[in-house]
């Protein structure tokens, strides 16, 4: 992602792409304001309304709202689309402040373990009862889901699945 519009070539910026008709955007708004205040002076928050800045939004490759994109020195270091909670929002600001932080993984280790365990139970039950192919099918689907989560998490965070997006470099925090 090349820097454009509201993204300076230096410093840390979190871009919030929102829409007036978007419920999760309204829910996230006070959280964004609060977290932004925590990172005041280190990370700038830029809000883009999709209707007002269509070219800019499509230039950022935004596929839906709400979307948060973290930039560090003009380069994208994190992106999340969809309604997210306070911790994920804070992770986006931290990624911009520290630099190089990945997009927060959509599934943590617990989620993946739970999906894998359920897949195994259903596969074993499906194969031993009959076999019951619908059970086997659901088990295979859940297993694939877990594998997709795992691949995504490893790709985004090579240091290990489900980990914090923080990096070993010390945060300089100066935009």
């Amino acid at each position: 992602m090349s820097p454009s519009g509201p993204v300076p070539s230096r410093g840390a910026v979190v871009v919030d792409v929102w829409a007036t008709w978007c419920g999760p955007c309204r829910t996230m708004d006070p959280i964004l304001t609060r977290v932004s205040a925590e990172f005041a002076g280190r990370v700038d928050l830029v809000r883009l309304e999709v209707g007002d800045d269509t070219d800019l939004v499509s230039g950022l490759g935004v596929m839906g709202v709400p979307t948060l994109i973290s930039f560090r020195d003009g380069g994208e270091v994190g992106r999340v689309t969809g309604g997210v909670g306070e911790e994920a929002i804070r992770a986006m600001f931290r990624a911009a402040a520290v630099g190089g932080g990945p997009t927060p993984p959509s599934a943590n280790t617990t989620d993946m373990a739970l999906r894998g365990l359920v897949a195994l139970v259903l596969l074993v039950a499906g194969l031993s009862l009959g076999p019951s192919w619908p059970l086997v099918g659901v088990g295979v689907a859940l297993g694939l889901w877990m594998v997709l989560n795992l691949v995504q998490t490893v790709r985004l965070n090579p240091t290990g699945p489900g980990g914090s997006p923080s990096r070993p470099e010390a945060p300089d925090g100066v935009p």
Binding site: P24, T27, M28, P30, I31, G82, G83, V84, G85, E86, A88, S106, A107, N108, D111, L114, R115, V118, V121, L122, A125, G126, L129, G130, S132, P134, L135, V138, L142, W145
Partner: protein, 71 residues
């Protein structure tokens, strides 16, 4: 997890219920009634695995302590 609104105990209860309904429906009963029971079981299973319940979201309710999203 986007907007998770279920506590861990809630998720585990849903997953266990979903597994039981699926196994009983598809594996034990079978037939039309079993398929219906299995499909019903998919609902708690999936909402438990995702950690987000649309019915909770509809009524701004949640079992997870989560700032900004739960009751």
């Amino acid at each position: 997890m986007s907007f998770a609104n279920e506590a861990n105990w809630d998720r585990i209860a849903r997953v266990v219920l979903g597994i039981v309904l699926l196994i009983v429906g598809f594996g034990v009963i079978g037939g039309t009634g079993g398929v219906i029971l299995g499909i019903i079981g998919l609902v708690p299973l999936l909402t438990g695995l995702i950690g987000w319940c649309p019915a909770y979201a509809l009524f701004h309710f949640g079992t997870k302590e989560h700032s900004g999203t739960s009751a």
